[in-house]
């Protein structure tokens, strides 16, 4: 077994030091080394998007990133999305719009939606559907998710005004 590597990274705006094996994905590192189990494992091969996190402003599937690659990077996970006393508008919209049932895909959808609204505050329905094509949900049929993202976009652009 290869030796563990020391990695220093910024996760949800906190500097984090950890040890991981080179073969451990960022997903495994978050869940098994750091105990941050909000990020979910679905397919573990880049197809389902459940493990979506944002690295240096870009969303990626954390199952296809190595933990050692987190070195020097700024990582955002679902744990950093809400404030202590209130949910993020996207989370609130998913809740109000019933955009989740079993919940396994939800952290990935929230992160992907957040990444979208960061670059495009008012995306069209088509754009939302295309952007979220890498996130699979087997419960909702997607309509409620898309409408919740639209609702969050409206709310967030209202807040900015």
């Amino acid at each position: 077994m290869a030796d563990k590597v020391r990695v220093q990274s910024t996760i949800n705006e906190e500097t984090v030091d950890f040890l991981c094996e080179p073969r451990q994905s960022l997903l495994e590192t978050l869940r098994d080394v750091l105990g941050m189990t909000g990020t979910k494992e679905g397919c573990n091969d880049g197809n389902c998007g459940a493990c979506t996190v944002i690295i240096d402003g870009r969303m990626v599937t954390s199952c296809l990133v190595l933990g050692v690659e987190a070195s020097g990077k700024k990582i955002e996970t679902i744990e950093g999305v809400s404030q202590p006393d209130h949910l993020h508008p996207i989370q609130q919209a998913f809740l109000e719009g019933a955009a989740l049932q079993c919940g396994i895909c939800t952290p990935g959808f929230i992160m992907a939606s957040k990444a979208l609204l960061q670059v495009e505050p008012k995306p069209s329905e088509e754009r939302i559907r295309l952007w979220l094509a890498g996130n699979l949900c087997r419960c909702t049929g997607y309509d409620k998710i898309v409408r919740s993202v639209q609702s969050a976009a409206t709310k967030m652009s209202g807040e900015r005004r």
Partner: protein
């Protein structure tokens, strides 16, 4: 995933050194969206050292000048390519493919260099590059460099002609000639996040009056053991008037050249039919772009 040593190479020389030392035991990684899947699935049991090349400056280059054209470093992720204003303006055929590889998540990591070196016949990134005349810049032991037309890099499914100790540094795409255009189209059952049943990249140059083909290149995906350049399709275009008859003849040549297999994604007959349809449409799209429509 199997255990391996991770090396974040800081120079081409360092990466080539590891490759030379370990041979089959070393594998390069840029975005990792293919190699990590393969390692996890046990499909590369020989790999003992994974060499991350994202820290090498030259492999992150994305630049254009009118003399040598576009340089795409082998580790440049898809999103940088399709968001680049120069690529959007001068090479929309490359944007076509870079923006449909995997999901937005995958495009945040995956590089065209990786798409090339992974060498699957269905790779979307390769046909438009070959159609546009891309040349590989390859580094090897003892600071050696060589250039190779991209269509000559492929040896079979998942296999390239790169020798032990060699690595892809970048691809260079010549400056687009006046009155030229290119397009890549693929057919997939789902619009996104899917693997091509068939794909066609076409690049054409028209005369100044834009009514005659000066030259053309047609490249097929997922219908041969390698990304397939069809010289006969180019010959059917060169010097001929821009009309449905000429386009139809080029499409017939593409269909004749395709040697697909039947698998879960489609039958031989279906794939050959798709090659005809996609070749006509990609040529028409390339013509529209050449005309600036």
């Amino acid at each position: 995933m199997q255990a391996f040593e991770y090396v974040s190479a800081k120079s081409v020389g360092e990466a080539v050194g590891v490759l030379s030392q370990h041979g089959e035991g070393a594998r390069l990684m840029a975005g990792g969206t293919d190699v990590l899947v393969q390692l996890r699935a046990g499909r590369r049991p020989q790999v003992k050292v994974l060499v991350d090349v994202k820290g090498i400056g030259e492999l992150n280059e994305l630049s254009y000048n009118d003399r040598q054209g576009l340089i795409i470093g082998a580790a440049v992720p898809c999103y940088r390519i399709y968001e680049d204003p120069t690529v959007i303006k001068r090479y929309p055929g490359i944007v076509d493919s870079a923006s449909i590889i995997g999901s937005v998540q995958i495009q945040g990591r995956a590089s065209l260099g990786g798409n090339i070196c992974n060498a699957t016949p269905s790779a979307d990134g390769i046909p438009p590059l070959i159609a546009l005349g891309a040349v590989c810049i390859i580094a090897g032991p003892n600071n050696s460099r060589r250039e190779l037309p991209l269509e000559q890099l492929f040896a079979g499914p998942g296999r390239t002609t790169l020798q032990n100790g060699e690595m892809l540094i970048s691809v260079r795409v010549p400056p687009p000639p006046a009155n030229s255009g290119a397009q890549y189209l693929r057919f997939t059952p789902r619009n996104e996040m899917d693997i091509a049943v068939a794909g066609v990249g076409a690049a054409i140059t028209l005369n100044a009056a834009k009514n005659t083909f000066v030259s053309g290149r047609v490249v097929l995906a997922a219908v041969a053991p390698i990304p397939l350049l069809v010289p006969a399709a180019g010959q059917a275009l060169a010097g001929k008037p821009v009309n449905d008859e000429t386009i139809g003849k080029a499409a017939e040549a593409a269909v004749a050249a395709a040697v697909p297999i039947t698998d879960m994604r489609g039958t031989i007959e279906y794939r050959k039919h798709l090659v005809g349809v996609l070749t006509r449409r990609a040529l028409q799209g390339a013509i529209q772009r050449a005309k600036g429509v």
